[in-house]
């Protein structure tokens, strides 16, 4: 029957002369102050995210004519190395042959390059274990070997041995023309 009582429940604030209005203004002021602090907190945190000029430089173009068959060129993209590898027919064949091998992070070689551009492999050159840069053509599979903890990648950049959990990442990129790509 408590909901039938008009006015206030006197037992809550026995001493105050107008306790409910005072409570309201205290809570309202406290919430407003919290809202203000919260509103300022976001700008103060967000300032640490990439700035406008950093984002403006987040994509690069690369001329594939700089890479010859059997070679790899490393360019810097978003502060990290980017591997652009011109694979030989033999390396592509080896990669396709292993599509159904026992892979830790299963992926077909098809999914690792753009359609009809099997010779060009574009990868983020950062070992998925702890971020070192793997060395070109190292390891048992002729792909890459990470010098830090011995992770071995094949000619498709897939993890085959060692502690790394994932394949070398394929960045977002697109062919602008037959010989030019835009990364990011």
């Amino acid at each position: 029957m408590a909901d039938t009582v008009a006015g206030a429940s006197p037992d809550l604030h026995a001493s105050g002369e107008d306790p409910n209005r005072r409570d309201f203004i205290h809570i309202a002021a406290g919430v407003a102050a919290l809202g203000a602090v919260g509103g300022l907190a976001w700008p103060f945190i967000d300032q640490m995210n990439p700035a406008g000029d950093t984002l403006a430089l987040a994509s690069i173009e690369f001329d594939l004519g700089k890479v010859v068959e059997g070679q790899q060129v490393v360019v810097k993209w978003r502060g990290k190395p980017l591997f652009v590898r011109y694979r030989t027919a033999k390396e592509i064949e080896a990669a396709i042959k292993d599509d159904h091998a026992d892979l830790r992070d299963p992926a077909t070689d098809e999914s690792r390059h753009k359609p009809g551009k099997a010779q060009y492999l574009v990868l983020v050159g950062v070992c998925t274990h702890l971020g070192c840069v793997p060395t070109f053509q190292g390891g048992d599979y002729g792909g890459w070997l990470c010098p830090c903890h011995g992770s071995v990648y094949d000619t498709s950049g897939r993890i085959r041995k060692g502690p790394a959990p994932l394949n070398l990442a394929v960045p977002d990129y697109a062919f602008l023309s037959d010989s030019k790509i835009k990364v990011g």
């Binding site: 002021a29 700008p43 103060f44 300032q47 000029d53």
Partner: protein
């Protein structure tokens, strides 16, 4: 005031902590139950405002230091980078730049309140001197900070201020070279100013701790200047003054926000949007507004060394003020004659500020003049600043000591509570005797 603690630990954890590190007891005694005079007016809320401003300056400053580059070739562009590219960088940079002005505005109100109500007098001399040290550190920090954007005004301001040291006989030029780290203000100077600008606020925070400690020994002064006589003269700090300070802070923040969002460059100088050029000085070089009165005193004296000494003496005088004041009555509420000189003093400070912003040879009243007196036109700002400077020093060294001996103060109330109950004029006869009891 620093007497017994009324804190009683409520939970088992609080009891455990209290016997090891009584930090909750400390917080309780200083900001919850601290007995505060019940008659403090809004002029007493600026201590809280200043604490908040120090916090805002430190937080925004740490953020700016994440993006700023203290290098003569890169500093200017890095500030523009903060304003244009960094997420909310415009907000943080404007908060910091205008925050400095708001900090000084609050500290000036705080100081003038102190002068009016005689808060610097015994037993609060150390409290006052610590405040003077904070003010000095603030001016140094403000100056170092103003140099960092490496605009034209930054650079040439740094040149002028560091050259002041060169006025010291014999060792001056060597000290200046030491400060510069070279033969002029250059990259080494910028680097060390950045380092010091980051250091000093934390030193300010340390002295603020001492300032509050020294406040809590004798307790607050109050608008009557009469000592707290009994517990009926006080109320606990919380909620009475937390709420009052909170309201004052809200109003102050509205003014601050108006500057940050609607006129962020109003208090700055357009010349600072031009990258520093050591080969060309701006037409008219002025410091930030809060240093203008001292700049006017510097330029009022035609001799370089004496001008520099005059400027430093203007600040040094504040340190000895408690011993210059001979009046036994604290509050000017009961010193009508002193009040007149006090308001003229405020006027003199404002006039000095205006003089500092003008070129010395400019005419105060346009199209007049022509009366040459000694080295300058009688109607020029240099003469006005001489009058202002003269009054500034006379107020502290002549008027304040003499007035305390010669004036007749109004009857001072018996206690804080009594003027609330009866008008001073109709106070009981016994009240007249209270000036002799040293308020």
């Amino acid at each position: 005031m620093s007497g017994h603690s009324t804190y009683e630990p409520k939970s088992g954890f609080e009891r455990w902590l209290d016997s090891r590190l009584p930090i909750i007891r400390f917080a309780n005694d200083t900001i919850i139950t601290f007995p505060t005079p019940k008659n403090l007016n809004y002029w007493w809320t600026f201590g809280g405002v200043l604490s908040l401003m120090l916090g805002i300056q430190i937080v925004t400053g740490i953020i700016l230091a994440m993006h700023y580059v203290p290098n003569a070739d890169l500093a200017f562009n890095s500030v523009e980078h903060i304003r244009r590219d960094v997420n909310y960088g415009w907000l943080v940079q404007f908060m910091h730049a205008n925050g400095a002005s708001m900090f000084f505005l609050a500290v000036y109100i705080h100081i003038f309140r102190n002068l009016y109500y005689g808060s610097y007098k015994a037993p609060r001399e150390v409290l006052w001197i610590l405040g003077c040290i904070i003010y000095l550190l603030m001016m140094a920090t403000g100056f170092f900070g103003y140099v960092l954007p490496w605009g034209q005004m930054s650079f040439h301001g740094a040149v002028v201020i560091t050259n002041l040291i060169g006025a010291i006989p014999v060792v001056g030029p060597s000290i200046t070279t030491l400060l510069w780290g070279g033969f002029a203000v250059d990259n080494p100077t910028l680097n060390r100013f950045f380092s010091l600008h980051y250091l000093l606020p934390f030193m300010i925070a340390g002295v603020v701790g001492l300032h509050i400690w020294a406040l809590h020994v004798p307790g607050n002064n109050n608008p009557t200047g009469v000592n707290v006589k009994s517990e009926t003269d006080t109320v606990p700090f919380h909620p009475y003054y937390t709420v009052k300070d909170g309201f004052a802070i809200s109003v102050f923040l509205i003014v601050y926000a108006a500057f940050v969002f609607y006129m962020p460059d109003a208090l700055g100088d357009a010349a600072n949007y031009i990258k520093a050029n050591p080969l060309q000085t701006p037409q008219h070089i002025v410091p930030e507004w809060y240093l203008l009165p001292f700049y006017a005193i510097l330029r009022a004296v035609p001799n370089k060394l004496m001008g520099v000494l005059g400027m430093f003496a203007a600040i040094g005088t504040l340190f000895v003020l408690p011993w210059l004041d001979t009046s036994k009555v604290r509050s000017m509420r009961y010193r009508p004659t002193a009040r007149i000189y006090y308001f003229i003093f405020i006027l003199a400070c404002l006039v000095l500020g205006v003089c500092g912003a003008h070129a010395p040879d400019d005419l105060v009243i346009p199209h007049s003049g022509g009366v040459q007196f000694l080295d300058a036109d009688l109607d020029s700002y240099v003469w006005l600043s001489r009058i202002g400077a003269l009054y500034y020093f006379a107020y502290f060294w002549v008027i304040t000591p003499l007035l305390g001996l010669t004036e007749t103060p109004l009857p001072v109330p018996e206690s804080i509570s009594s003027p609330v109950l009866s008008h001073p004029a109709s106070a009981p006869a016994g009240a007249v005797a209270s000036p002799e009891k040293r308020g």
